[in-house]
């Protein structure tokens, strides 16, 4: 071993993780996992939420220190004590949440990321160098624009460019395409793939999209519940085989077939307009009708007004103008109207938008009806009724909680969403509004939620499903609408929708 060794030579290098074990207290997050990323390859890391993918890459990047196991970088064993060590070795990571500072410009973000930020930044010189750097890169970003003003796709490109700007040659990408349209995803991954083929870069990509694995990855490693479930060359595997390896023997809820024809108009939006938090128009005079027994899917890249639209429907935001009608009656999202029209809501980030984290699972399940019989008599609430009702629903919706009295914030994301499902879909439903209901959930929860939504539709509910996951929309909706810059720019029956046309509209072309 040479003292004061130099960083690995230029060009791509590989990283191996050998016999990695990681314990958090009693919990075994990684159990003797092995990962071999060849130099100059595009490697996919597959697994469900909680399978240990993030833990594994965080061990490689020095955020966590594995209980046991070794990291070998470019053929040499390395003790990576912190992210700075990893960076010095040429390892870089693009996180799922953005690490750019929104209130700063792209150029400021890039320069700031460097280890050697000068005490006084000479902006004209830096800008010239950045321009020259961008000239060599496969995709461009506006340097002078504030990060908060550019699209999610551009931000993701920025994150990747930042790593390349820092001369990282082993990139870990954590679900890099979740905010991109299919076309953008293909563009970004395609260009990274070219750099890999040229031998400039090695890529380890965490993903759950089989399409991207099949199209771009050379090798794949699959984790399940902290263990190595499988690994191999992508060319020798099928998406089905990979899915089976990922899920294991767990039984998934079977989704009921689509039955019945859409009936009368149930939910009508007329020229609805809403502002975002900065006062800009986020929802731009949209009109839409959802009929009973129909799922209308709203597609779009996040940040195109979907959140504000759902907030208006949920009563969390006031509309500027326009009208909402439910079954012909004007609707202003009051509790009384919601009850009368049997409205149900599955908002995104359910722990934040649909639950009170510090209250018990039973209380959270009772929110819709806690003030009426049998839960209340006059002024008095009946806690036993809460708990009894919660027990039935916990069993029926397979919510994993220690007791009905456990605070709901202690549950995993999938179980929080199941508790919300139990509350919102447990009774009769006439109108259901769901926003990214499966975001970040495991296969079992996703299958259950999809089945419940389809069942509600079959029972005659009008369903408005807002989602960033195009596959989910194509699977569930009867009709598809694309939202871009606060407007509905495209509408088609899902059975006739052309994926490339949908993707083009999502990108605003």
């Amino acid at each position: 071993m040479i003292i004061g060794e130099t960083p690995p030579p230029s060009g791509a290098f590989g990283v191996d993780a050998v016999a990695m074990t990681m314990r958090f207290g009693d919990f075994l997050a990684l159990d003797n996992v092995e990962l071999k990323v060849r130099p100059g390859s595009f490697h996919a890391l597959l697994g469900e939420n909680g399978a240990g993918k993030s833990t594994l890459v965080k061990c490689i990047m020095g955020y966590y220190h594995a209980t046991e196991g070794d990291i070998i970088v470019g053929g040499r064993e390395q003790a990576i004590a912190n992210p700075k060590n990893a960076h010095a070795l040429g390892l870089g990571m693009v996180y799922q949440h953005f690490t750019l500072v929104p209130a700063m410009t792209v150029a400021e973000n890039l320069v700031l990321a460097r280890d050697d930020v000068p005490a006084v930044v000479n902006w004209p010189k830096e800008m010239k160098e950045l321009e020259a750097f961008l000239g060599r890169m496969p995709f461009r970003v506006p340097l002078g624009a504030k990060v908060s003003d550019i699209s999610a796709g551009e931000r993701q490109k920025c994150e990747i460019l930042k790593q390349l700007y820092l001369k990282r040659r082993f990139l870990i990408l954590d679900e890099p395409t979740s905010v991109l349209t299919p076309a953008e995803a293909d563009e970004v991954l395609g260009m990274l793939r070219e750099m890999v083929v040229r031998g400039e870069l090695t890529i380890l990509m965490i993903t759950h999209k089989f399409r991207e694995v099949m199209a771009f990855a050379d090798d794949v490693t699959i984790l399940r519940r902290g263990k190595l479930a499988g690994a191999g060359k992508v060319s020798e595997l099928t998406p089905d085989a990979m899915a089976r390896t990922m899920i294991g023997a767990e039984e998934l809820t079977v989704q009921p077939p689509r039955t019945g024809k859409p009936g009368q108009a149930r939910l009508e939006l007329q020229k609805l307009r809403a502002l975002d938090d900065t006062g800009a128009v986020a929802v731009h005079d949209v009109s839409l009708t959802v009929r009973a027994g129909e799922i209308v899917g709203i597609a779009g890249v996040s940040g195109n007004g979907q959140r504000q639209l759902v907030e208006v429907l949920a009563g969390q935001r006031e509309a500027e103008s326009g009208e909402i009608r439910v079954a012909g009656d004007p609707y202003r999202a009051s509790r009384e109207e919601m009850r009368r029209h049997k409205m149900s809501l599955l908002p995104e980030e359910p722990l934040k938008n649909a639950c009170v984290g510090g209250m018990s699972v039973a209380d959270n399940i009772a929110f819709r009806d806690f003030d009426r019989a049998p839960f209340a008599r006059g002024w008095w609430l009946n806690p036993r009724a809460f708990r009894d009702d919660a027990r039935t629903r916990i069993a029926r919706y397979k919510i994993k909680t220690r007791t009905p009295d456990t605070p709901i914030s202690a549950l995993s994301g999938g179980n929080v969403q199941r508790a919300v499902l139990a509350r919102e879909l447990g009774g009769d439903v006439e109108v259901l509004i769901a926003a990214n209901p499966c975001f970040g959930l495991d296969f079992a929860a996703v299958a259950q939620i999809h089945a419940e939504i389809m069942a509600a539709r079959n029972r005659g509910a009008a369903v408005l499903l807002v989602s960033e996951d195009l596959d989910e929309l194509l699977e569930l909706s009867d009709r598809l609408v694309v939202m871009f810059h606060g407007e509905f720019v495209y509408e088609a029956r899902t059975s006739e929708a052309d994926l490339t046309v949908v993707g083009r509209h999502m990108a605003g072309h």
């Binding site: 912190n82 992210p83 700075k84 960076h87 996180y95 949440h97 953005f98 690490t99 750019l100 500072v101 929104p102 209130a103 700063m104 400021e108 320069v111 700031l112 990321a113 930020v117 000068p118 005490a119 006084v120 930044v121 902006w123 502002l275 938090d277 900065t278 006062g279 006031e318």
Partner: protein, 308 residues
């Protein structure tokens, strides 16, 4: 005007002079708070820092005979109080607003306790520069006798504005205030950045305090600060965390505060107390005009506990 009387012109001149005099502590405290808040912390304790600064400046100036050593001492005690605030806030589950209120009470109490023997003696005061030498009208000369600290503050505001954009420290402070995740991902210690920013804020607030005891009103007593520290914190909010706007806002505030005495000097005494309330009315008016329940404040650092 041979008799030196300039009639109603006295009022704007007195307001101008008053604005410069009264705004100085506002300016220093708000610039300090601007640094602290840009790093993602609110330090409400600056009211206490201001009073402690005033007391220590007076004491040191009296003991050493040098008002500038007093200013330095005020800055250092302010920085120490800032370090105390930042230190407590870096513990888990501590709310910076609550700590700030505690330190505000602690600071004023401490200053009154330690400052008891300082009420009697007279300490050397800070110098002022006579910019009105060209005029022989006494009101003009009085208005243009500008204290040195104000001049330093006026230079400091654009320097801070520049520093937030082009220096490594400025960029790091903004990163810590806008996205602690991003700062951490770059391998910086957010707590350390905030500690330094809070200390810098305390340093400036302490200097603001030294102005109170060493220039205007120019003595040490327990009624020295009438909430300037806390008002300056609010000032930062409607200056939208911009040092240059802090300068203008401080001047506007100082001008409003000088309105009552200025009117009194020309003999308008009715509604004296009402005019003295002008700064607070101004605060209310600006708040009502610029704030809306439907939108978030533009320019607010995203990590502040009030915007998160």
């Amino acid at each position: 005007m041979a008799d030196g009387s300039i009639g109603l012109w006295t009022v704007p001149l007195a307001v101008l002079g008053g604005a410069i005099r009264v705004s100085t502590p506002f300016l220093f405290v708000s610039l300090g708070e601007c640094i602290t808040e840009r790093a993602g912390r609110i330090n409400l304790g600056l009211e206490g820092t201001l009073v402690v600064g005033a007391m220590s400046a007076y004491g040191i100036s009296y003991l050493t005979g040098s008002p500038w050593l007093g200013v330095l001492a005020a800055g250092i005690t302010g920085a120490l109080l800032g370090a105390l605030h930042a230190g407590i806030c870096s513990l888990p589950r501590v709310n910076d607003v609550a700590v700030g209120i505690a330190l505000m009470l602690f600071g004023t109490g401490l200053a009154f306790y330690l400052g008891k023997p300082l009420i009697e003696p007279t300490a050397p005061r800070l110098p002022a520069i006579d910019f009105g030498w060209w005029s022989d009208i006494p009101q003009v000369r009085a208005a243009l006798r500008i204290n040195v600290l104000f001049l330093i503050g006026v230079v400091l505001a654009p320097i801070l504005y520049w520093a937030f954009r082009t220096t490594r420290w400025g960029l790091l402070i903004r990163t810590a205030g806008e996205s602690s995740d991003a700062a951490r991902a770059m391998g910086h210690s957010v707590l350390l950045i905030r500690l330094r920013a809070t200390m810098a804020g305390g340093f400036l607030a302490g200097i603001g305090g030294s102005f109170l005891s060493l220039f205007y009103p120019g003595s040490w007593n327990e009624g020295l600060s009438s909430g300037q520290g806390i008002t300056a914190v609010a000032l930062v909010i409607f200056a939208r965390w911009d040092p240059l706007l802090c300068l203008w806002a401080s001047l506007a505030f100082g001008g409003a505060a000088a309105l009552g005495p200025a009117l009194q000097s020309v003999g308008i005494t009715s509604g004296y107390h009402l005019f003295n309330a002008a700064p607070y009315i101004l605060t209310l008016a600006i708040m009502i005009i610029t704030c809306s329940p439907k939108r978030t404040l533009t320019g607010a650092p995203a990590e502040l506990s009030i915007t998160r």
